[in-house]
Amino acid sequence: MTEKLFARPKSLTDVSTHYCPGCHHGIIHRLIAEVIDELDVQDKTIGVAPVGCSVLCYDYFNFDMIEAAHGRAPATATGVKRVHPDAVVFSYQGDGDLAAIGTAEIVHAAARGEKITTVFVNNAIYGMTGGQMAPTTLVNQVTTTSPYGRNPNFTGMPIKMSEMLATLDGAKYIARVAVNNPVNMIKAKKAIKQAFEIQLNGLGFALVEVLSICPTNWGMSPLEAVEWMEKNMVPYYPLGVFKVPEEVAK
């Protein structure tokens, strides 16, 4: 038999990534690439990269890409989509990018019902700049700018972006997933696929938040990091689909 059961998706380039060992960015890239292949839209996909550890994702995705300014990916993606309404346009963003500096851009892209898809990687920290507090950093979590642990008296509570965005009419599909085990990976891929299908059907804005790990800046081994995520992040950021159009839910 010559049938290949496990091959690199067409939508990924054949290079090794710069991500740290155990980092989930690579897995999430792969799931997106598989979905783009399965939907057979590689040739009309335009991705928008963020500023963050995944800034170089344009080197890993094998389709047209635009590298946006920090937090502005939803605005940039809006510009692209309005020029090519037939294209598949998505933004890939971290939690500093999407939930801090780019809050206005993501909220208004969702509010307009912009027909784009956003993959939001929540690792509760600023990875690229070396582990500073993010809006999603958990209470008491130690980072380089919350060295005594995040104190909600001064910094408020971590933002639940999915729950917040789900309140907007323009947002048609909002889900939170994780890629910490094979079962969750299958669910994550299904959610990402649905989020792209929402766009292909012209229904409106769709976002998938993926809980992710940053072993390097959390100061843990990849295994410890996964455990920490399950024990601390999942209870505060519950997994599930927050919003889905009836016709897709069935």
Partner: protein
């Protein structure tokens, strides 16, 4: 033949953009350019174009970045405080070498300033404005007709050089009504094989980017940009000279100020004073050599601006220290009267010097 129509400056820019083939406009309301945003909201749907009122100028310019990266002829417009917010995006657009047109109908500053006409954003517009070594092509019209012609030209230049072009006007130009006729773009819509429009059979991804992590690579990119800017300096200088051949005093003014300066100049001429005027139309590239030549036989220059003195630095760099460069400016939305400028001319001609 195109016929003349009476139009407000701001609206004329909008119509000229449409004539130039622009079908994507992203903006945010701010006085004194809001008529342009409103005009686009009326006109774009009629020509199958896209009008989008963004949540901020930051978002608007990043939408422009996306649309330009995707291959469109695209425009945004604002006034001073909004242009400050756009600087991040403009730097990215310059770095990624994307064509777009940005309109700044300047108002008084700094800060929230006023909504009256001013020219206080000259430094910001011509010296870069955002971070990094880059230049916008900056064009400064002084009539509604020129707003129209320069808007169309701006789209052509943006595409030709893959560079942002800024139209630097002011509140007065935006509000004034004058007849204008429209002529279509010279180059028309050009092919953009570099755009991120989806591969669509191309086989190889296009990437729009301004990140070069290796210092060697970023330096090469900067050298490439500087070569492009040198080419623009060589080819895209624009200016107007009026009665400079025999002038003892050369007035230097751009935009709305040049119209007031001209009235004062005509009056001085009528009274036998040898006064001429040099009007830079491209503020970047600045017509350095042309100004130096124009003022060769003059014994002094008088720079006139609606600012505390910004263009005067380029005027001084152009003519050197060999002759006095006087300055007269009003700020905060105050407009000098022709009488005021005439008085400055008289003072200088009488050897009493200007300010």
């Amino acid at each position: 033949m195109a016929e003349k129509v009476l139009m407000k400056g701001n609206e004329a820019i909008g119509e000229a953009a449409i004539v130039a083939g622009c079908r994507h406009y992203f903006g945010y309301p701010i006085t004194p350019q809001t008529e342009l945003t409103e005009y686009m909201s009326r006109r774009m749907p009629k020509v199958d174009g896209v009008f989008l009122q963004a949540e901020s100028e930051v978002a608007a310019i990043n939408m422009v970045y996306g649309a330009a990266g995707a291959g469109a002829r695209v425009m945004t417009s604002s006034s001073s405080p909004g242009i400050s917010l756009k600087q991040e995006g403009i730097s990215y657009i310059a770095g990624a070498e994307l064509p777009c047109v940005i309109v700044n109908m300047m108002r008084g500053g700094p800060g929230l300033g006023s909504i009256q006409p001013a020219q206080g954003d000259y430094f910001q517009a011509t010296k870069g404005g955002g971070h990094g070594d880059y230049h916008n092509i900056v064009l400064a019209p002084n009539s509604v007709q020129e707003l129209v012609d320069i808007t169309v030209l701006s789209f052509d230049l943006a595409d030709q050089y893959r560079n942002p072009v800024m139209i630097l006007g002011d509140g007065a130009l935006g509000q004034m009504m004058e007849p204008a006729e429209f002529h279509s773009s010279n180059t028309g819509l050009v092919k953009k094989p570099w755009a991120a429009a989806g591969m669509r059979g191309r086989g190889k991804p296009n990437i729009i980017n301004s990140l070069y992590l290796q210092p060697e690579a970023l330096e090469q990119h900067n050298i490439h940009l500087q070569r492009k800017y040198a080419l623009i300096k060589e080819n895209e200088i624009r200016y107007e000279e009026i009665k400079t051949e025999d002038a003892e005093l050369v007035l230097v003014a751009y935009g709305i100020t040049s119209r007031i300066a001209r009235s004062a100049m005509e009056r001085a001429r009528a009274e036998g004073m040898k006064v001429g005027m040099f009007r830079p139309i491209s503020l970047w590239p600045f017509p350095e050599q042309q100004l130096a030549k124009s003022a060769e036989n003059a014994s002094a220059l008088l720079t006139l601006e609606l600012s505390a003195g910004q263009m005067i630095e380029d005027v001084r760099l152009s003519v050197g220290n060999i002759k006095p460069v006087h300055f007269y400016g009003r700020t905060g939305g105050m407009m000098p009267s022709p009488q005021e400028i005439y008085q400055e001319i008289v003072n200088i001609m009488n050897g009493k010097g200007g300010k």
